[in-house]
């Protein structure tokens, strides 16, 4: 049984890729799937911190590629879910320490044993990005409702198409319902209209994300009504369930959402 490899990428930095990987990975594990997260942001590793696993790292992805250890030795088991693993990035090396071909081999090996392999891509379109997408079957693009982030997301979709990764889907992060209803933010329909790809989820701006990242506890672990529910819903959609988009109480926000349904 081979699992699926999913890359989370964005183009623009700081839009929430690592947060998304940690949360949908944890949520999928909570649904009893076997999940491995790969931090492909070599040189700027973060995912271990957001997962609260930093102090357990012995080996990293570069050690595996350079045969300093076996793959199983580098995998860190999550402290909360025994079916969730992390392959950490190296902090003291750079992107060139791994080649796309090696990455592909690694991901394929992990897929043998996992339901989902989720790859956290670095920002940008250089080698780090190429490594991150090398073994992926599907891509999820994270963007925020800003013109520059959407522009970069569009660029990334073009590059993915060129690499043969078809039909990427988009997650819009840090939506602020009040700003959208005031017209101060790009609306979801504006974004989807430009990108012309399927919407996978909408995650609201939520202070709790910053707190939970600092504590190393993904928000999906607690019953968090805003961002937590949004990430859980994305995980359920990934595993094939139909889930309606969250309403976030705000009326005008809800109307906007209804419009996209008719759009796609």
């Amino acid at each position: 049984m081979a699992g699926k490899a999913l890359v989370i990428t964005s183009g623009k930095g700081g839009v929430g890729k690592t947060t998304t990987v940690a949360n949908i990975g944890t949520a999928l594990a909570m649904m009893d799937h076997r999940v491995c997260l790969i931090d492909a942001d070599i040189g700027l590793r973060n995912l271990d911190v957001v997962m609260g696993l930093e102090n357990r790292i012995v080996y990293d992805i570069v050690d595996v590629v350079e045969d300093n250890c076996r793959l199983e030795q580098a995998l860190i088991r999550d402290k909360r879910h025994k079916n969730l693993f992390l392959l950490p990035a190296a902090q003291t090396r750079d992107k060139t320490a791994v080649q796309p071909e090696q990455m592909k081999t690694l991901v394929n090996e992990l897929k043998e044993d996992m339901d989902y392999v989720i790859i956290d891509s670095p920002a940008g379109i250089e080698q780090g990005f190429k490594n991150a997408i090398a073994g992926a079957d599907f891509a999820l693009i994270v963007t925020t409702p800003e013109v520059s982030a959407v522009r970069d997301a569009d660029r990334i979709i073009g590059l993915l198409e060129a690499e043969g990764i078809k039909d990427p889907e988009v997650i819009i992060n840090r939506i602020n319902p009040e700003m959208v209803s005031r017209g101060d933010m790009m609306s979801i329909e504006d974004i989807i209209e430009i990108l012309a790809v399927k919407l996978k989820g909408i995650v609201p701006e939520d202070q709790i994300i910053v707190v939970s990242s600092n504590r190393g506890e993904p928000v999906v672990l607690k019953d968090n009504p805003k961002a937590g529910t949004a990430f859980k819903n994305i995980a359920r959609r990934i595993s094939g369930q139909e889930v309606n988009f969250i309403s976030l109480e705000d009326k005008s926000f809800f109307t906007k959402l209804k419009k996209i349904f008719s759009f796609s």
Partner: protein, 207 residues
């Protein structure tokens, strides 16, 4: 055998380079053939004849000018030896100026299409994408990126789209930007942009 004359489209006109090794009669014949087969691609453009490294007598230069006058509607004929400045890296090969290229997808940010002929796109031109054509640009979709029609200097080129909302629109040497207050109107309204009396005009396109 390689042609003794070569053409490049530069920012401010067309550069014709004469091979300094070739004999004068071959140059003349090649130029005459080219003039005869040329379309109005050169209309409104300046023609720079690059004589760098060649040595011609004054009456030979005269003969060249006389042949080059045969290009329809060329604005000025200018001799130059300054190749580097005129031939930007942005040059187009213009051997296919009559052709039409069909692009059957949306151009996304960072993607650029550059063709000597006409370009027809079935899809959108997204913000951050760019299309440069020697001839016309026709888009069965929305233009939100940068488009340049008549890039070889043709004032007769036009840009047509189901929705014209470009970051910047250029025809020949003219540049237009849409008004600052961005149009919230999402309705598709086919429009065509072209040059009239030296300005870029936009008219609703009646089908």
């Amino acid at each position: 055998m390689k042609s003794p004359i070569t053409f490049k489209v530069a920012k401010d006109g067309i550069v014709l380079s004469l091979d300094p090794e070739a004999n004068f009669k071959r140059i003349k014949d090649a130029l005459r053939d080219h003039v005869e087969s040329a379309t109005n691609f050169y209309a409104g453009a300046d023609l720079y004849i690059n004589i760098a490294e060649s040595s011609f007598k004054i009456d030979q230069l005269n003969e060249i000018v006389n042949i080059a006058r045969g290009y329809k509607d060329v604005k000025n004929i200018i001799f130059t030896s300054d190749v580097i400045n005129r031939e930007t890296t942005d040059t187009l090969e213009i051997s296919n100026e009559g052709e039409t290229y069909l692009i059957n997808r949306t151009l996304r940010s960072g993607q650029k299409i550059k063709k000597a002929g006409n370009v027809v796109i079935i899809g959108d031109i997204n913000p951050g994408a760019e299309v440069v054509a020697g001839g016309d640009i026709v888009v069965f979709g929305k233009i939100r990126g940068v488009v340049h029609a008549g890039a070889g200097g043709s004032d007769k080129a036009s840009v047509t789209a189901l929705k014209l909302d470009p970051t910047q629109l250029r025809i020949s040497k003219k540049i237009a930007r849409p008004p600052e207050e961005n149009s919230k109107n999402k309705k598709l309204q086919p429009e065509r942009a072209f040059i009239q009396e030296g300005n870029i005009m936009v008219e609703k396109f009646e089908i």
